[in-house]
Amino acid sequence: MTDFTIVLRSLRARAFSTIITILSVAIAVMLILSLLTLRNSGKAAFERGSGDMHLLITAEDSPLVSVLNSVFYANAPRRPVTWTKYQQIAAQAPWAYTVPTAIGDSYRGFPVVATTTDMFTKFVPAADAPWKLSEGAYFAEGDAGNWQAVLGSTVAQTTGLKIGDTIYLAHGYNPRATKPGSPDPAANNEHAHDDHDHDHADHDDYDADHEAESTTAVHVHREFPTKVVGILAPTATPHDRAIFTNLESTWIKHAKDIRARLNPPQDAPATSADLRESERLITGIYTRLVTRPGSDAPANLPQVFDTLRRDGSLTVAQPKQETDTLFGSIIDPINRIFVAIAVVVLITSGIGIMLALYNSMEQRRRQIAVLRVLGASASRIFNLVITECAVIGVAGALLGTAITLLGTRLAAFTIMTRYGVVIEPTLSPIIIIYLIVATILLAILAGLIPAIMAYRTSVARSLRPTA
């Protein structure tokens, strides 16, 4: 038998109160750890989306908006870049790749990214998850790839589409208006072209055209059945939610719309060779500069960045920097509020420990007095009470940590199996250790008042038969 046995027996004697107090500490620890885990996982997920690109070039209003729209598919980009401009940029610097993207169409709420096969052969969406087909093939080069689609893993999982299935892409993309995975609008939405009074005289109307479509009902291109030719393996990036087609078919599709509204209407282009320069529009360019082997930071990046920024028609973003800005300026303060709330919960549970022990002190005065009569010094009694608090703190912290680790892994497994999104719950062991130590210290602090009460307990008074 040791003093610790006395502590454990004392806690057991008040089992209900002890369990409730430990649970309240565990919940507070769980809350803090969950917030930190989600925050870290969220940031990691954001950092994954831009993959190995160095610069994202668009014509958007700001670098942050361009990253959100062209990498995370928050909205359809508002301003296009001409193909001629793309070619100029591609020839301007020693690029490892320049992958053009045109975003503005959708299928059941999922964004359609028109691009080239360089997207799959050169761009790497995440360092640990290069593109891999789980089924089928990528769309073919040039016009041979027209009306072929490659599905991101989430799209395939959510829609149940298979290789060989035919889909009808919709003009317009508004994730706020259409929930991903919503029913196929082609089944019941015959959105008439005539409803729109578009003037497609020049490419500036790319914005107005998509904006009009994206804020109202989508316009389904039923005349262009698109065949699913490939399904991508999960990459745990936003690209898992995208459908990839070639640029040519997107251009042809939109050129047909534009020409049909001209007065007099003109014939739709049959192949990309029939396209006019004003009809070859993209919305973004993923770029990566040539680097030395083993290095990810090209020496000429600042110079290329500055040169591109001098072109007033372009917005040049360094995605990793924009992600940091986003977290630093918007998400971090929100997270700090959440963490502050969690800390308040932890402090509240500390007060709970104090109240639980304080309330038990009245009934424990006699036990303390008996121990004093048996030879325990006042300081030994003080230590016993403090140890009780520390035990509650340790039990609560460990229980909270265990539930969080198990819970987040279970949640990650469920999300992966149900939605195909890989979320790796990451939390530094150092943070866990700090939190456990902080919880124990808080519990000890909470025990000070009851311990002082125990220290000052009058033995003679507490042992009176009437006491």
Binding site: V373, L374, G375
Partner: protein
């Protein structure tokens, strides 16, 4: 060396200036193995006297020595440890540690007196067995009143004290159990050569103790203090 020696000891409650109560003990000595009954009614100062002897209260003057050590000369943890090692106390309501087993209650006394860990369990088991406790690992809450009393006696004697103080030890028991408990307490104190100071207002107790004293004149306010002297009524 006497188990208990009190000389010219006076006590009054300093925080209650208008309280004329004063306890004065001119001389009281108990040799090892002695057994003394102090008969007293409520409010006569018997608990105060026991608290003074146990070092839980300090007298204004005089000395109280237990096994040759003036307990009031010791301070803080040293006094607590001395009390734990040299004094056994049996309370009216036993004051067993709730939520602890019978053996843990006895071992707690040995633990608080800093006895070697290796001695705790054998000593506790030996005492409980000799007192007829057949379920030493049962929680004390689950024991009968008579068994609880025996556990309280075992705990008081665990550290082989020089002096055992018994404060109304039979007040919670029926006459049969009371007689059995007193038989046990007195015989064990004899066996361990421990002095026994028993405080009780139970008239039946007087037959058990050849040495008796009374404190009945001590209790009321405004009455003259009574001096206790060894060997009989003041």
């Amino acid at each position: 060396m006497p188990a208990l020696s009190i000389r010219d000891c006076t006590f009054r409650y300093t925080h209650a200036a208008d309280n004329p109560f004063e306890l004065r003990v001119a001389s009281l000595t108990l040799e090892p193995g002695d057994q003394l009954l102090l008969t007293a009614g409520s409010g006569t100062g018997k608990s105060t006297l026991l608290n003074l002897i146990a070092g839980l209260m300090d007298p204004q003057s005089g000395t109280i020595e237990i096994a040759g050590q003036n307990i009031h000369a010791l301070r803080g943890a040293a006094r607590d440890l001395f009390r734990g090692r040299n004094l056994g106390i049996v309370f009216q309501t036993f004051h067993l540690l709730q939520g602890f087993s019978a053996i843990e209650n006895v071992m707690a006394a040995l633990l608080m007196a800093d006895k070697p860990a290796s001695e705790m369990r054998p000593r506790a088991m030996e005492l409980l067995t000799s007192l007829g406790i057949t379920k030493p690992h049962a929680l004390v809450d689950d024991l009968s009143v008579g068994q609880q009393q025996r556990v309280a006696v075992a705990r008081a004697l665990a550290c082989k004290p020089a002096l055992v103080l018994a404060d109304e030890p039979t007040a919670s028991l029926d006459p049969t159990n009371a007689a059995a408990a007193m038989d046990l307490l007195q015989s064990l104190c004899k066996q361990h050569n421990a002095a026994l100071l028993c405080v009780s207002h139970d008239p039946a107790m007087s037959q058990r103790f050849p040495r008796r004293m009374t404190m009945e004149d001590l209790g009321g306010t405004g009455v003259p203090p009574v001096t206790l002297t060894q060997g009989g009524r003041p």
